[in-house]
């Protein structure tokens, strides 16, 4: 039964996505989204399992694997995706091509999270990139096209590097299934090279510093809801890949006690935290600010990965429950908060007809729900209590403490303060009444934008805060 369910996770959105081309768009999109949320929630009740597609067993056949990580990630995609779809449903300025592409992204995400075959992983990555690039290109105008093209180039290069690694692995071990590969893994040069190029490829997709250059433009220029799903979900595909590579597939290599490779990741994460935070603090417009914040938050997730890798070098338990649950929790906190923030930011910009922060004062004050949504998002991203981000940060700090990694401990604390600093820029403007030097006069009359759009953003941000109450359930559910 659940085998069909697994297939439905991918086929259902793909099918309805394709049908949007031949049916009235919203008629096809509605069942696609509802089914996606339904299956994506149901997946939480299924037992972890491996499925050989079509009865073909590895090494020849493709296999899918549902484990704790993929279960929760799929559910995350379903919920963030479902709420973002609600926003898109009410956002009348969105071209109808959105729905087919978005359902394609959804299907590709689910397939990517399920697959246990490195080559199939490459295919899903590529599918995801194509759909995501097309989503960026939905925005009219040369700036968006340029951003989309740059995104495509980086993404393609990343995929090619990943495929190169796949080829190297196949040449060395003759199998593509992740479990078989892991069991055969040796610590030789070819394997290390494969790890290096695959990591590089995924880093480009996930916008890990220094390969983040494409992200601020692509995410800032995209349609509001597109920015939200790209930042919240699509870049997580690359990060999920890094998790699988470093803590699962190449674990025999990366968890050797003398392995120092994790520190490189930690260093890149650190630089990303500071550079992204700094740029977010000084960029003049709202959506680029949120996009730069993504660069910084990706840094946090990479730093967490590095600490996890370091943890596996200290003891031989591998990827323990505590480790992956903590990381997926952080990912979820970021996804919910970032989706909420982007949706709120986009709504305010629409209302103001303006992107520069300096011109948003009046629109911010007329959008209390959005300001509230942004405030909650900042709270969760910065790890202030009581939010999902806070519990995630507590986990991260405890992990750093256990590893006696004082430097990274300090980095994650400073990163939180930096998050507050750039979040403050926006919220401060929302509270300003502008007596004195700069009176708050709108450049143009405010556009009418329905309040329910603000409400959707608020729901997402509120979830990233209130989700903390489900912490115990989440941590104890599998234990």
């Amino acid at each position: 039964m659940t085998e069909w369910g697994l297939a439905a996770l991918v086929v259902w959105p793909l099918l309805w996505g394709a049908l949007t081309l031949v049916m009235p768009v919203r008629w096809a999109a509605l069942p696609g989204v509802l089914g996606g949320v339904f299956f994506g929630t149901w997946v939480l009740t299924w037992a972890p399992q491996s499925v050989a597609l079509g009865g073909w067993l590895p090494p020849l056949g493709l296999s899918w694997r549902l484990d704790g990580v993929s279960q929760f990630m799929i559910a995350l995609v379903a919920w963030v995706g479902g709420l973002s779809s609600l926003y898109a449903w009410w956002d009348r300025s969105l071209p109808s091509a959105f729905w087919g592409l978005w359902l394609g992204v959804w299907a590709a995400m689910n397939a990517l999270l399920l697959t246990a075959d490195v080559f199939h992983f490459y295919v899903t990555l590529e599918l995801l990139s194509v759909a995501a690039v097309a989503l960026v290109a939905l925005t009219p105008g040369p700036a968006a096209t340029r951003a989309a093209f740059r995104y495509l180039l980086v993404s393609l290069t990343g995929s090619m590097l990943f495929l190169l690694g796949v080829a190297l692995l196949y040449g060395r071990y003759g199998v593509l299934d992740m479990l078989l590969l892991r069991d055969a893994m040796q610590g030789d040069g070819i394997t290390a090279l494969a790890l290096a190029v695959m990591t590089l490829g995924l880093m480009a997709k996930a916008a890990v510093f220094p390969l983040h250059g494409w992200l601020p433009q692509a995410h800032a220029k995209a349609q509001t809801v597109v920015s939200a799903v790209l930042s919240a979900l699509v870049i997580k595909a690359g990060l999920y890949g890094l998790l699988r590579l470093w803590l699962d597939l190449f674990a025999p290599l990366t968890s050797q006690p003398d392995s120092q490779a994790g520190w490189v990741l930690a260093l890149l994460g650190t630089v990303a935290i500071f550079w992204g935070g700094y740029q977010a603090f000084r960029t003049p417009a709202l959506k680029p600010l949120v996009a730069w914040s993504t660069v910084a938050q990706v840094g946090v997730l990479v730093l967490a990965l590095a600490l996890m890798v370091e943890a596996t070098t200290r003891d031989s338990d591998g990827l323990t429950e505590t480790l992956w649950r903590g990381w997926v929790w952080l990912v979820a906190a970021h996804a919910l908060a970032k989706a909420g923030w982007f949706l709120a930011a986009g709504t305010v910009q629409k209302r103001a007809g303006e992107t520069r922060l300096a011109g948003l004062g009046v629109a911010l004050q007329r959008s209390p729900l959005s300001v509230f949504a942004m405030a909650l998002a900042v709270v969760s991203l910065a790890g202030l209590p009581l939010s999902m981000g806070f519990l995630g940060k507590w986990w991260l700090l405890s992990l750093a403490w256990e590893l006696q990694a004082w430097l990274w401990l300090a980095v994650s604390l400073l990163g939180s303060l930096l998050t507050l600093a750039y979040g403050w820029r926006v919220l401060n403007l929302g509270l300003s009444t502008g007596h004195g030097a700069e009176p708050l006069t709108p450049q143009a009359p405010l556009q009418t934008v329905p309040t329910r759009l603000d409400a959707v953003a608020l729901i997402l941000s509120a979830l990233s805060v209130l989700g903390a109450l489900g912490g115990y359930w989440y941590w104890e559910a599998g234990a």
Partner: protein
Amino acid sequence: MNEVVYLYGALGVVLIGFYGLARAGHVLQQLLAVNVMGAGVFMLLLALATRHTPADAVPQALVLTGIVVAISTLALGLALIRRLAVEARQAEKRSDQEALHD
């Protein structure tokens, strides 16, 4: 012996693609450079297939799939380039008209 030539040749093509991407000034060149890189990777896979007799079927299947994927991404890239060109022309026209109005 042949195999080694192909293997290193393939890696060489990948590096050429990289170099091209880094140096390319035009969007079309950039897109082509990525494709050259892809060709290198496919060549690597095929070279690996020849190590067995009869040739290993899996890499061939992978390459076929890869080519399909590469063609569709290439198409998307070309479409974007075309749109860039159109939009650039429109922008030019607009600025001409504005110049006339001034």
